[in-house]
Protein backbone atom coordinates (compact mmCIF):
# COMPACT_ATOMS: atom_id res chain seq x y z
CA UNK A 1 0.00 0.00 0.00
CA UNK A 2 1.23 3.49 -0.80
CA UNK A 3 1.51 5.92 2.08
CA UNK A 4 2.27 9.59 2.59
CA UNK A 5 5.16 9.50 5.05
CA UNK A 6 6.06 13.18 5.27
CA UNK A 7 5.24 16.67 4.08
CA UNK A 8 7.53 19.53 3.18
CA UNK A 9 6.61 23.19 2.80
CA UNK A 10 9.22 25.20 0.90
CA UNK A 11 9.76 28.40 -1.02
CA UNK A 12 10.56 28.03 -4.71
CA UNK A 13 12.26 31.36 -5.53
CA UNK A 14 13.78 31.22 -9.05
CA UNK A 15 17.00 32.90 -7.86
CA UNK A 16 17.74 29.79 -5.77
CA UNK A 17 17.79 27.79 -9.00
CA UNK A 18 20.21 30.32 -10.47
CA UNK A 19 22.40 29.97 -7.35
CA UNK A 20 22.52 26.18 -7.76
CA UNK A 21 23.02 26.27 -11.53
CA UNK A 22 25.84 28.84 -11.27
CA UNK A 23 27.51 27.32 -8.20
CA UNK A 24 26.89 30.36 -5.97
CA UNK A 25 25.21 28.47 -3.17
CA UNK A 26 28.07 28.89 -0.69
CA UNK A 27 28.60 32.64 -1.11
CA UNK A 28 27.74 35.24 1.53
CA UNK A 29 24.29 35.92 0.11
CA UNK A 30 23.09 32.36 -0.49
CA UNK A 31 25.16 30.52 2.14
CA UNK A 32 22.71 31.01 5.05
CA UNK A 33 19.77 29.92 2.88
CA UNK A 34 21.39 26.70 1.69
CA UNK A 35 22.71 25.96 5.19
CA UNK A 36 19.08 26.02 6.34
CA UNK A 37 18.30 23.24 3.85
CA UNK A 38 21.32 21.11 4.81
CA UNK A 39 19.47 18.99 7.39
CA UNK A 40 16.57 18.50 5.00
CA UNK A 41 18.85 17.39 2.13
CA UNK A 42 20.47 14.78 4.40
CA UNK A 43 17.06 13.67 5.66
CA UNK A 44 15.76 13.24 2.08
CA UNK A 45 18.86 11.16 1.24
CA UNK A 46 18.02 8.86 4.18
CA UNK A 47 14.26 8.76 3.56
CA UNK A 48 14.57 7.93 -0.16
CA UNK A 49 10.95 8.65 -1.10
CA UNK A 50 9.76 6.83 -4.22
CA UNK A 51 7.41 9.60 -5.30
CA UNK A 52 6.86 13.25 -4.44
CA UNK A 53 3.46 14.81 -5.05
CA UNK A 54 4.75 18.28 -5.78
CA UNK A 55 2.21 21.06 -5.29
CA UNK A 56 3.34 24.22 -7.06
CA UNK A 57 2.11 26.96 -9.30
CA UNK A 58 2.95 27.44 -12.91
CA UNK A 59 4.32 30.94 -13.54
CA UNK A 60 2.93 31.51 -17.04
CA UNK A 61 5.08 28.68 -18.42
CA UNK A 62 2.96 25.60 -19.20
CA UNK A 63 -0.29 27.54 -19.01
CA UNK A 64 -0.75 30.90 -20.68
CA UNK A 65 -3.60 33.36 -20.15
CA UNK A 66 -5.87 31.14 -22.24
CA UNK A 67 -6.48 28.13 -20.00
CA UNK A 68 -6.47 28.58 -16.21
CA UNK A 69 -7.04 25.32 -14.32
CA UNK A 70 -7.66 25.77 -10.60
CA UNK A 71 -6.23 22.35 -9.73
CA UNK A 72 -4.34 20.38 -12.38
CA UNK A 73 -2.54 17.06 -12.01
CA UNK A 74 0.28 15.89 -14.25
CA UNK A 75 -0.37 12.32 -15.41
CA UNK A 76 2.48 12.11 -17.93
CA UNK A 77 5.58 9.92 -18.03
CA UNK A 78 8.06 12.82 -18.02
CA UNK A 79 8.35 16.59 -18.05
CA UNK A 80 11.02 18.91 -19.41
CA UNK A 81 12.36 22.04 -17.75
CA UNK A 82 10.55 25.10 -19.15
CA UNK A 83 12.21 27.96 -21.00
CA UNK A 84 11.08 30.90 -18.85
CA UNK A 85 12.67 33.49 -21.10
CA UNK A 86 16.38 32.84 -20.60
CA UNK A 87 16.60 29.21 -21.73
CA UNK A 88 15.57 26.11 -19.73
CA UNK A 89 17.30 25.41 -16.40
CA UNK A 90 20.06 22.82 -16.89
CA UNK A 91 18.39 20.19 -14.73
CA UNK A 92 17.45 16.58 -15.49
CA UNK A 93 14.05 15.84 -16.98
CA UNK A 94 11.44 15.14 -14.32
CA UNK A 95 10.14 11.61 -14.36
CA UNK A 96 6.42 11.26 -13.63
CA UNK A 97 4.62 8.36 -11.99
CA UNK A 98 1.76 7.99 -14.43
CA UNK A 99 0.16 4.99 -12.67
CA UNK A 100 -0.06 6.76 -9.32
CA UNK A 101 -0.99 10.10 -10.90
CA UNK A 102 -3.89 8.61 -12.87
CA UNK A 103 -5.01 6.74 -9.78
CA UNK A 104 -5.00 9.96 -7.76
CA UNK A 105 -6.76 11.87 -10.54
CA UNK A 106 -9.54 9.29 -10.80
CA UNK A 107 -9.91 9.01 -7.02
CA UNK A 108 -10.08 12.78 -6.58
CA UNK A 109 -12.77 13.14 -9.23
CA UNK A 110 -14.84 10.41 -7.55
CA UNK A 111 -14.20 12.29 -4.28
CA UNK A 112 -15.82 15.47 -5.73
CA UNK A 113 -12.60 17.27 -6.76
CA UNK A 114 -12.97 18.17 -10.43
CA UNK A 115 -9.34 17.95 -11.50
CA UNK A 116 -7.82 19.04 -14.78
CA UNK A 117 -5.61 16.30 -16.21
CA UNK A 118 -2.40 17.16 -18.02
CA UNK A 119 -0.51 14.69 -20.16
CA UNK A 120 2.22 16.89 -21.61
CA UNK A 121 3.75 20.01 -20.14
CA UNK A 122 7.02 21.68 -19.29
CA UNK A 123 7.67 22.42 -15.62
CA UNK A 124 9.11 25.73 -14.44
CA UNK A 125 11.08 26.91 -11.41
CA UNK A 126 8.04 26.37 -9.17
CA UNK A 127 8.66 22.64 -9.50
CA UNK A 128 12.39 22.34 -10.28
CA UNK A 129 13.74 24.73 -7.60
CA UNK A 130 12.35 22.66 -4.68
CA UNK A 131 13.89 19.53 -6.28
CA UNK A 132 17.25 21.31 -6.44
CA UNK A 133 16.94 22.47 -2.82
CA UNK A 134 16.20 18.92 -1.60
CA UNK A 135 18.43 16.88 -3.92
CA UNK A 136 21.20 19.19 -5.19
CA UNK A 137 22.55 18.52 -8.67
CA UNK A 138 22.15 14.79 -9.45
CA UNK A 139 22.46 13.42 -13.01
CA UNK A 140 18.94 12.06 -12.56
CA UNK A 141 16.35 13.10 -9.96
CA UNK A 142 16.16 10.37 -7.28
CA UNK A 143 12.34 10.49 -7.13
CA UNK A 144 9.41 10.30 -9.45
CA UNK A 145 7.15 13.34 -9.33
CA UNK A 146 3.42 13.84 -9.58
CA UNK A 147 3.05 17.55 -10.40
CA UNK A 148 0.00 19.23 -8.92
CA UNK A 149 -0.39 22.75 -10.28
CA UNK A 150 -2.61 25.27 -8.48
CA UNK A 151 -3.85 28.56 -9.87
CA UNK A 152 -2.63 31.22 -7.44
CA UNK A 153 -2.32 33.94 -10.09
CA UNK A 154 -5.79 34.77 -11.47
CA UNK A 155 -8.43 35.63 -8.85
CA UNK A 156 -10.27 34.09 -7.24
CA UNK A 157 -7.67 31.46 -6.40
CA UNK A 158 -8.86 28.44 -4.36
CA UNK A 159 -9.57 29.05 -0.68
CA UNK A 160 -7.28 27.73 2.02
CA UNK A 161 -10.12 25.55 3.20
CA UNK A 162 -10.52 23.97 -0.23
CA UNK A 163 -6.76 23.41 -0.48
CA UNK A 164 -6.71 21.65 2.89
CA UNK A 165 -9.66 19.45 1.87
CA UNK A 166 -7.88 18.56 -1.39
CA UNK A 167 -4.90 17.47 0.69
CA UNK A 168 -7.16 15.20 2.74
CA UNK A 169 -8.56 13.68 -0.45
CA UNK A 170 -5.05 13.16 -1.88
CA UNK A 171 -4.09 11.24 1.27
CA UNK A 172 -7.14 8.98 0.83
CA UNK A 173 -6.27 8.46 -2.83
CA UNK A 174 -2.66 7.53 -2.09
CA UNK A 175 -3.70 5.06 0.59
CA UNK A 176 -5.90 3.19 -1.88
CA UNK A 177 -3.04 2.68 -4.37
CA UNK A 178 -2.09 -1.01 -4.15
CA UNK A 179 1.66 -0.76 -4.76
CA UNK A 180 4.01 -0.21 -1.79
CA UNK A 181 5.31 3.30 -2.25
CA UNK A 182 6.96 5.81 0.07
CA UNK A 183 5.21 9.04 -0.96
CA UNK A 184 5.95 12.56 0.20
CA UNK A 185 3.85 15.62 -0.47
CA UNK A 186 5.47 19.01 -0.87
CA UNK A 187 3.65 22.34 -0.79
CA UNK A 188 5.74 25.07 -2.36
CA UNK A 189 5.79 28.83 -2.87
CA UNK A 190 5.89 31.81 -0.53
CA UNK A 191 6.62 32.92 1.97
CA UNK A 192 5.83 36.66 2.19
CA UNK A 193 6.62 38.52 -1.03
CA UNK A 194 5.20 41.07 -3.41
CA UNK A 195 6.60 41.32 -6.92
CA UNK A 196 4.49 44.13 -8.31
CA UNK A 197 3.48 47.77 -7.91
CA UNK A 198 4.77 50.46 -5.54
CA UNK A 199 4.31 48.14 -2.50
CA UNK A 200 6.76 45.57 -3.96
CA UNK A 201 9.29 44.24 -1.50
CA UNK A 202 6.86 43.72 1.36
CA UNK A 203 8.00 41.05 3.82
CA UNK A 204 6.45 39.96 7.10
CA UNK A 205 8.66 37.87 9.36
CA UNK A 206 6.16 37.83 12.22
CA UNK A 207 3.20 36.65 10.13
CA UNK A 208 5.24 34.04 8.25
CA UNK A 209 6.41 32.53 11.53
CA UNK A 210 2.88 32.53 12.89
CA UNK A 211 1.87 30.61 9.74
CA UNK A 212 4.64 28.05 10.35
CA UNK A 213 3.43 27.70 13.97
CA UNK A 214 -0.11 27.08 12.74
CA UNK A 215 1.05 24.41 10.26
CA UNK A 216 2.92 22.62 13.03
CA UNK A 217 -0.06 22.64 15.41
CA UNK A 218 -2.76 20.02 15.82
CA UNK A 219 -5.66 22.32 15.05
CA UNK A 220 -6.78 23.36 11.58
CA UNK A 221 -7.33 27.09 12.15
CA UNK A 222 -4.87 27.85 9.34
CA UNK A 223 -7.28 26.59 6.69
CA UNK A 224 -9.69 29.43 7.45
CA UNK A 225 -7.30 32.35 6.82
CA UNK A 226 -9.04 34.42 4.12
CA UNK A 227 -7.24 35.51 0.94
CA UNK A 228 -7.34 39.16 1.97
CA UNK A 229 -5.28 38.41 5.07
CA UNK A 230 -2.50 36.76 3.01
CA UNK A 231 -2.59 39.70 0.60
CA UNK A 232 -2.53 42.47 3.21
CA UNK A 233 -0.01 40.80 5.52
CA UNK A 234 2.31 38.92 3.18
CA UNK A 235 2.16 40.70 -0.18
CA UNK A 236 0.31 39.87 -3.36
CA UNK A 237 2.45 36.80 -4.08
CA UNK A 238 2.33 35.59 -0.46
CA UNK A 239 -0.96 33.96 -1.47
CA UNK A 240 1.17 31.07 -2.73
CA UNK A 241 1.16 29.82 0.86
CA UNK A 242 -2.34 28.37 0.33
CA UNK A 243 -0.50 25.60 -1.54
CA UNK A 244 1.22 24.58 1.70
CA UNK A 245 -2.24 23.78 3.07
CA UNK A 246 -2.69 21.00 0.50
CA UNK A 247 0.45 19.43 1.97
CA UNK A 248 -0.69 19.99 5.55
CA UNK A 249 -4.20 18.67 4.88
CA UNK A 250 -2.69 15.43 3.55
CA UNK A 251 -0.85 14.73 6.83
CA UNK A 252 -3.83 14.28 9.15
CA UNK A 253 -4.70 15.92 12.43
CA UNK A 254 -1.41 15.74 14.29
CA UNK A 255 2.08 16.31 12.99
CA UNK A 256 5.60 16.24 14.32
CA UNK A 257 7.96 19.00 13.15
CA UNK A 258 11.28 17.56 12.01
CA UNK A 259 12.87 20.77 10.73
CA UNK A 260 12.03 24.41 10.26
CA UNK A 261 14.01 27.28 8.76
CA UNK A 262 13.34 30.92 7.93
CA UNK A 263 15.55 33.52 6.30
CA UNK A 264 15.17 37.03 4.89
CA UNK A 265 15.78 37.88 2.06
CA UNK A 266 16.23 35.93 -1.14
CA UNK A 267 15.71 38.32 -4.01
CA UNK A 268 12.24 39.81 -3.29
CA UNK A 269 11.19 37.03 -0.98
CA UNK A 270 11.20 35.65 2.56
CA UNK A 271 12.47 32.07 2.40
CA UNK A 272 11.02 29.40 4.63
CA UNK A 273 10.70 25.69 4.82
CA UNK A 274 9.23 23.16 7.21
CA UNK A 275 9.41 19.35 7.34
CA UNK A 276 6.46 17.58 8.95
CA UNK A 277 5.65 13.96 9.68
CA UNK A 278 2.14 12.58 10.32
CA UNK A 279 1.80 11.78 14.04
CA UNK A 280 -1.68 10.28 14.28
Amino acid sequence: MAKITAGVGSSHVPLLGVAVDQGKWQDDYFGPIFKGYEWTREWEAREKPDVVILVYNDHASAFDANIIPTFAIGCGEHYKSADEGWGPRPVPDVEGHADLAWHIAQSLILDDFDMTIINEMDVDHGLTVPLSMMFGQPEKWPVKVVPLAVNVVTYPVPSGNRCWALGEAIARAVESFPEDLNVQIWGTGGMSHQLQGPRAGLLNREWDNKFLDMLASDNDDVRHIPHIEYLRETGSEGIEMVMWLIMRGALGKSVKTLNRHYHIPCSNTAIGHIVLEPAD
Partner: protein, 139 residues
Protein backbone atom coordinates in the same frame (compact mmCIF):
# COMPACT_ATOMS: atom_id res chain seq x y z
CA UNK B 1 -16.01 15.43 7.03
CA UNK B 2 -14.68 18.83 6.07
CA UNK B 3 -16.03 21.81 7.91
CA UNK B 4 -18.15 24.17 5.83
CA UNK B 5 -17.27 27.86 6.06
CA UNK B 6 -19.65 30.63 5.05
CA UNK B 7 -19.23 31.31 1.33
CA UNK B 8 -17.83 34.68 0.31
CA UNK B 9 -19.95 37.41 -1.23
CA UNK B 10 -18.21 38.09 -4.54
CA UNK B 11 -18.77 41.86 -4.45
CA UNK B 12 -17.32 42.22 -0.97
CA UNK B 13 -14.48 39.89 -1.92
CA UNK B 14 -13.54 41.94 -5.00
CA UNK B 15 -13.89 45.28 -3.17
CA UNK B 16 -11.40 44.14 -0.54
CA UNK B 17 -8.87 43.18 -3.22
CA UNK B 18 -8.83 46.82 -4.35
CA UNK B 19 -8.16 48.09 -0.82
CA UNK B 20 -4.44 47.32 -0.73
CA UNK B 21 -2.03 50.24 -1.21
CA UNK B 22 0.33 50.10 -4.20
CA UNK B 23 -1.03 46.77 -5.37
CA UNK B 24 -3.03 45.53 -8.38
CA UNK B 25 -4.47 42.14 -7.63
CA UNK B 26 -4.84 40.18 -10.86
CA UNK B 27 -8.60 39.88 -10.87
CA UNK B 28 -10.70 38.44 -13.67
CA UNK B 29 -11.42 42.02 -14.83
CA UNK B 30 -7.68 42.75 -15.16
CA UNK B 31 -7.06 39.36 -16.77
CA UNK B 32 -9.67 40.16 -19.43
CA UNK B 33 -8.32 43.66 -20.05
CA UNK B 34 -4.69 42.58 -20.30
CA UNK B 35 -5.20 39.32 -22.17
CA UNK B 36 -3.16 40.18 -25.27
CA UNK B 37 -0.46 42.03 -23.32
CA UNK B 38 0.07 38.84 -21.37
CA UNK B 39 -0.11 36.59 -24.42
CA UNK B 40 2.44 38.82 -26.16
CA UNK B 41 4.75 38.50 -23.13
CA UNK B 42 4.20 34.75 -23.14
CA UNK B 43 5.38 34.56 -26.74
CA UNK B 44 8.84 35.70 -25.60
CA UNK B 45 9.40 32.28 -24.07
CA UNK B 46 10.41 31.10 -27.54
CA UNK B 47 13.96 32.01 -28.53
CA UNK B 48 13.00 32.80 -32.12
CA UNK B 49 10.31 35.24 -30.95
CA UNK B 50 12.76 36.94 -28.58
CA UNK B 51 15.11 37.45 -31.52
CA UNK B 52 12.39 38.91 -33.71
CA UNK B 53 11.22 41.18 -30.89
CA UNK B 54 14.74 42.42 -30.18
CA UNK B 55 15.37 43.07 -33.86
CA UNK B 56 12.35 45.40 -34.15
CA UNK B 57 10.24 45.81 -31.02
CA UNK B 58 7.64 48.05 -32.59
CA UNK B 59 7.09 45.77 -35.59
CA UNK B 60 6.73 42.75 -33.33
CA UNK B 61 4.24 44.57 -31.08
CA UNK B 62 2.21 45.60 -34.12
CA UNK B 63 1.48 41.92 -34.75
CA UNK B 64 -0.59 41.85 -31.55
CA UNK B 65 -4.07 43.11 -30.69
CA UNK B 66 -2.71 45.55 -28.10
CA UNK B 67 -3.74 49.21 -27.57
CA UNK B 68 -1.34 51.99 -28.52
CA UNK B 69 -1.16 52.95 -24.82
CA UNK B 70 -0.04 49.45 -23.91
CA UNK B 71 2.45 49.32 -26.78
CA UNK B 72 4.02 52.58 -25.56
CA UNK B 73 4.16 51.21 -22.00
CA UNK B 74 5.80 48.02 -23.27
CA UNK B 75 8.36 49.98 -25.32
CA UNK B 76 9.13 52.14 -22.25
CA UNK B 77 9.10 49.15 -19.85
CA UNK B 78 6.59 51.14 -17.76
CA UNK B 79 5.48 48.21 -15.62
CA UNK B 80 3.08 50.07 -13.32
CA UNK B 81 1.10 51.29 -16.34
CA UNK B 82 1.15 47.75 -17.70
CA UNK B 83 -0.30 46.46 -14.40
CA UNK B 84 -3.06 49.05 -14.72
CA UNK B 85 -3.74 47.82 -18.25
CA UNK B 86 -4.14 44.25 -17.06
CA UNK B 87 -0.58 42.96 -17.33
CA UNK B 88 0.47 40.35 -14.79
CA UNK B 89 3.96 40.20 -13.39
CA UNK B 90 4.51 36.51 -14.15
CA UNK B 91 3.75 37.18 -17.80
CA UNK B 92 5.65 40.49 -17.87
CA UNK B 93 8.64 38.71 -16.38
CA UNK B 94 9.21 37.10 -19.79
CA UNK B 95 10.06 40.63 -20.92
CA UNK B 96 12.38 41.14 -17.91
CA UNK B 97 14.15 37.96 -18.97
CA UNK B 98 14.29 38.93 -22.64
CA UNK B 99 15.95 42.17 -21.48
CA UNK B 100 18.40 40.19 -19.33
CA UNK B 101 17.21 42.07 -16.26
CA UNK B 102 17.26 40.29 -12.88
CA UNK B 103 13.72 39.82 -11.59
CA UNK B 104 14.26 41.93 -8.45
CA UNK B 105 15.80 44.79 -10.43
CA UNK B 106 12.79 44.84 -12.77
CA UNK B 107 10.47 44.78 -9.73
CA UNK B 108 12.33 47.73 -8.20
CA UNK B 109 11.35 49.90 -11.21
CA UNK B 110 7.74 49.74 -9.99
CA UNK B 111 8.66 51.31 -6.64
CA UNK B 112 9.84 54.82 -5.80
CA UNK B 113 13.35 53.48 -5.19
CA UNK B 114 16.45 52.98 -7.29
CA UNK B 115 17.64 49.40 -7.70
CA UNK B 116 20.48 49.82 -5.14
CA UNK B 117 18.02 51.38 -2.66
CA UNK B 118 15.51 48.59 -3.21
CA UNK B 119 18.17 45.92 -2.87
CA UNK B 120 19.32 47.48 0.41
CA UNK B 121 15.73 47.60 1.69
CA UNK B 122 15.42 43.87 1.03
CA UNK B 123 18.72 43.15 2.80
CA UNK B 124 17.44 45.22 5.74
CA UNK B 125 14.34 43.03 6.09
CA UNK B 126 12.06 44.25 3.31
CA UNK B 127 9.18 46.69 3.26
CA UNK B 128 7.18 46.71 6.49
CA UNK B 129 3.50 45.81 6.30
CA UNK B 130 2.78 48.56 8.86
CA UNK B 131 0.66 51.26 7.20
CA UNK B 132 0.71 49.24 3.96
CA UNK B 133 -2.17 46.86 4.57
CA UNK B 134 -5.28 48.87 3.77
CA UNK B 135 -6.06 52.07 1.90
CA UNK B 136 -9.32 52.71 3.78
CA UNK B 137 -8.08 51.54 7.15
CA UNK B 138 -4.64 53.15 6.92
CA UNK B 139 -3.09 50.43 9.08
Amino acid sequence: MTQETPKQNIHEYLAELDDIPGTRIYTAARARKGYWINQFAMSLMKAENRERFKADERAYLDEWNISEEAKQALLKRDYNTLLDLGGNVYFLSKLFSADGLPFAEAVSTMTDMTWPEYRQMMLDGGRSPIGNRSIKGGY
